[in-house]
Symmetry: D2
Amino acid sequence: MVGNSLGTLFKIISFGESHGEVIGVIIDGCPAGLKIDIDLIQKELNRRRPGQIALSTPRSEEDKVKILSGIFNNFTTGAPICLIIENKDVDSSKYEKIKNILRPSHADFSRLMRYGEFADYRGGGRFSGRITAGFVMAGAIAKQILSLNNIEIIAYTREIGGIIDDKDYDFKKKKNLRDKSEVGVLNSDNSQKISELILQMKEEKNSVGGIVKCIVDNFPAGVGDPIFNNLQSDISKAIFSIPAVKGIEFGAGFKAARMKGSEHNDPWIIKDGKIKTSKNDAGGIIGGISTGMPIEFNVCFKPTASISKSQKTIDIKLMEETELIIEGRHDPCIVPRAIPVIEAMTAVVLLDHLLMAQKIPLVLEEK
Amino acid sequence: MVGNSLGTLFKIISFGESHGEVIGVIIDGCPAGLKIDIDLIQKELNRRRPGQIALSTPRSEEDKVKILSGIFNNFTTGAPICLIIENKDVDSSKYEKIKNILRPSHADFSRLMRYGEFADYRGGGRFSGRITAGFVMAGAIAKQILSLNNIEIIAYTREIGGIIDDKDYDFKKKKNLRDKSEVGVLNSDNSQKISELILQMKEEKNSVGGIVKCIVDNFPAGVGDPIFNNLQSDISKAIFSIPAVKGIEFGAGFKAARMKGSEHNDPWIIKDGKIKTSKNDAGGIIGGISTGMPIEFNVCFKPTASISKSQKTIDIKLMEETELIIEGRHDPCIVPRAIPVIEAMTAVVLLDHLLMAQKIPLVLEEK
Amino acid sequence: MVGNSLGTLFKIISFGESHGEVIGVIIDGCPAGLKIDIDLIQKELNRRRPGQIALSTPRSEEDKVKILSGIFNNFTTGAPICLIIENKDVDSSKYEKIKNILRPSHADFSRLMRYGEFADYRGGGRFSGRITAGFVMAGAIAKQILSLNNIEIIAYTREIGGIIDDKDYDFKKKKNLRDKSEVGVLNSDNSQKISELILQMKEEKNSVGGIVKCIVDNFPAGVGDPIFNNLQSDISKAIFSIPAVKGIEFGAGFKAARMKGSEHNDPWIIKDGKIKTSKNDAGGIIGGISTGMPIEFNVCFKPTASISKSQKTIDIKLMEETELIIEGRHDPCIVPRAIPVIEAMTAVVLLDHLLMAQKIPLVLEEK
Amino acid sequence: MVGNSLGTLFKIISFGESHGEVIGVIIDGCPAGLKIDIDLIQKELNRRRPGQIALSTPRSEEDKVKILSGIFNNFTTGAPICLIIENKDVDSSKYEKIKNILRPSHADFSRLMRYGEFADYRGGGRFSGRITAGFVMAGAIAKQILSLNNIEIIAYTREIGGIIDDKDYDFKKKKNLRDKSEVGVLNSDNSQKISELILQMKEEKNSVGGIVKCIVDNFPAGVGDPIFNNLQSDISKAIFSIPAVKGIEFGAGFKAARMKGSEHNDPWIIKDGKIKTSKNDAGGIIGGISTGMPIEFNVCFKPTASISKSQKTIDIKLMEETELIIEGRHDPCIVPRAIPVIEAMTAVVLLDHLLMAQKIPLVLEEK
């Protein structure tokens, strides 16, 4: 309850269920005057669409975006924008059979304790990763506005199942490299290894977790509202709304626990007449406010909870132990499809803060 | 701006500056009928008070809590509770000298870009760790209400400067062990090693980071509001409001990235007629809602930014490079003093969610 | 912007435009376990539907409610409920012709100054009374929950164009009487007179305003959150969201300005063992909290701004004076159709407050 | 609960009780760089201070404003500003005697049903008009920022006890005229009559209500966020937070109910090259957004509930009827002292909306 809105001046409201009519999102507070490129929204949706590659769930959804409100003559009007996709390839039969069996590490028990027996459990209902399609649609619009202000976001796979891809490149090159990889890593050799690992997991009826890195380029200094609406707080709140996320770290992150101040502190320098730091262990945020350096953070995803391996669990109606084999259609690794979702939520939060900092006007100038 | 409130039904508002008149907090939404134990508030404050031990900053503050509103005949009334401590041992001279020098990894530049030259920079102003005294006062009240409901929170040092203290004990024993340690770890041998490391940092005019673990016992299942007000999101948002925090992970956390589903999934079992999991890699939260297992998370602190070692940086008025030696009074490691702050913010967030879940009444029964 | 959400625990989000695809509403925070009676929602919609009677606009819309999310097996799930109606009988041609002419007492100029030229002006866009269909759908659900708790709301016409209908009846009789009247008054002789007045206005190409009275029966004492979320504040905020409202007064209202304390004060009495007041000039709210007496307030509507009479105004492109004859399709008096809207908004606000007061559970018991 | 905050970007938090330590307010979101004129705050406080004139309560409070946070070197910093006044002339004995007697039209019963027996009842506690001193302090700061932008607010008495003062003057002259009158009316003959009426009420141990008019000059067009955060909604919400308010109307207000569209509609004209309306029955707000014409509204106050006349009521402990004579110290008419409170709340709401409309920067330019 009351949990489906995020943001202050650029607010998104999530609705819809995995096997309901639609997945949707409302954007309240989008500046007027943005020329909507619906292909861009669709392109972002396609990045997280299921059934795209051999590595992901066989559920096949067209995920075609439909605009219900807020756009007129192809421009945003300042009114709430409602975007939906329809659920078509719905097969709820497998969920019906196991509706009293608690799937390990799924929200079945939490949900029962919170909503009683009324919640829609089909396909995970509100707890399905599919609801992030709404995040992606909202993010696609936020990204268009950020882009007009030269702010670019990229997320990519840093690690899956222990295979670490940490060779770095400059910002512009990253996008090309990532887009060439089926699993969203920058280096092709690791891409191959990770693809093989994921296929192996599929065969083993198992799954695996991973880490996504996200970088925001050209974000202006001076944005963020300490104490509680600081940038780290608001980004982390948004990122933890993505199912399966279990950790987030900014800049040097958990490594900072083993660093000395003299190592972690980023020296201030003047470069091309601008104030910068010579390195960026702060991840672009100090005191909760942007420094003008790239915003950088890592997000940890647990392995997909749905596995086809036999698992011990309980039947909650009979109150007795049982074995469970989850049939359904699931990704052996959610990480590659989570990449556009992380970009989307980051865009949503940052645009909200840019509006609060009055760095973006309420009515965009016509170009 | 607009960043100083947190919460929906149990809301805290932070105010005050490090070298201003007071540090304060308002609690809006505290249930009526709580018998206030002011000694308990003071005890919590004392846990984070500076000048307590050789290891921390020499700034000496009495930090005596004063109640300005919301209490009548020793009970909470349901009206907003305003609590303050005064700033007495204030020495702003050292800040005056360096006010144009950007201290590395401090919020000086962020602050200038956000507030212009108007912000109070003395002692870090609003960006000082001292503002967390307000968090602790609010948390002390939240903890009293949680305690009446048998919910207990403990945080303790897990790691400082690479010295890991991971031998575990049952919940009740942990509190005793931690309280015996000057640095808040559970095992006395590590306590000794860490104390020595911190003293060494002090001598080296350097600092060091660390990790705090937090566990919540007896938290009921079914609390949390997906999607955006899920428990992980709201806890992380609150925790990142504590200065120097750079990462948070729930349950197995970042380790989950290298686990298989068959390893990470927590099997459901029936124990003493209750539904539990046989292990707790989920950290007590699935789908953003509590499972009834202990809530567990780790928080990473960067090393204190203020070090007395000479550092390269720039003078922002002259726009030229310079060297900086920070005099002031600083903790070589903030981790031990951050422990009660983490407990406090956790208590505040969880009480807010318990009220939203109607697990705690608006008027407490008289005992 | 950011203006399309209302409420804390029972939150509604409005979207859609008069001549867009749909008019819609999202309800976030509806308790789980309400058996949805879709006919009841449709019945409420029909009460404010255009084209029903000779007295209202000839625009003919079926206004058939469609559920996009939040309902499963006919019960609410606790997830956000998205309800829409489609716009079908859309004729935007008349708006195209006058899009640069400022219609007197319409939001044309306000809208331009707020959203630039991007807003959807067709049929009034977001400023159309048609958006209140979304309010009515949300209110229909809120009313069902209130009804389960024996709380009933009735609004009726008190006055139109100076014809005052102030003979009163007991609560139950009022509903019958009102429903017999085409214009929503209680007494049939006034009903006839008012109908004639409205038809006369139509012929004169003019319009007329009026007053609606709203009464809430059986609302429990002790609900409302002073200071700023008191019941009068939150009801008035919601009511002023209805287009054409220009005033609200509780209990004796503006008459209180001419009363003495000894007249206005409501004496407390004991009646059937319960604490009541012998009269109700307070309108059921004292100190912003409900007293247990009926909540009573009056709402003033201005005459419909759209009249077919020739009016002096300006062309904003040419920046010169002009004459305007509004064609379109409009109600000569909005008051009768506003009655269900006032009931709806009242229901929404009161349910939100009942949830905050923990008077209604988050999961409704199955009956 | 949760009711003590108002606003989004310029947020005020109210705290304190009539006979507690202090009455206070926190302002969160005040732009940085406002030179604070503490005399101006004090001057506003003095306007509503008790014990000033023969006509008001004999309680004598110095009401000296004290700044606890948010100001540095005499300028606002962007951090939360905490302002308090102390309660000194406290005499709670009279409240002790009658604490089980329900005072007619007081919040005694509402309060008991909401907070149980825990609320501070002394002097009305949180329900006292004295809490509006906090509103006035916040408003004084808001007014200073509005003034820098040439926006001026004036409220004055329109009517007390049936004596109507409706002869109008231009904006600048109004302030002088009002300030000459002990009761805040514009015309000296009515001032005399009203003063006599109030004294008569005092002698009769009775009280009387009235109406305050408020006008905002030079408020820019295009401010306000439909649907729910429209200007009428947000002003009315704030105004109903003032104790004893029972009605509000904008522009022609309730008179609009008896007007035809052709009378009520304000014709658009061009005057000195600017777009205006030739009259202002809309009260400066159409569609919830400012039109650039003066914002105008009337507020109705009920007669003071505390009267020294004997009243019938009940003893809630004995559950039996009784007679009550309220001793205490009370104003026979609250209207004159409410004037600065209405100005203050109006300033607070409008500044919040100006910030949302990006019409005022977050860091004010130094002049």
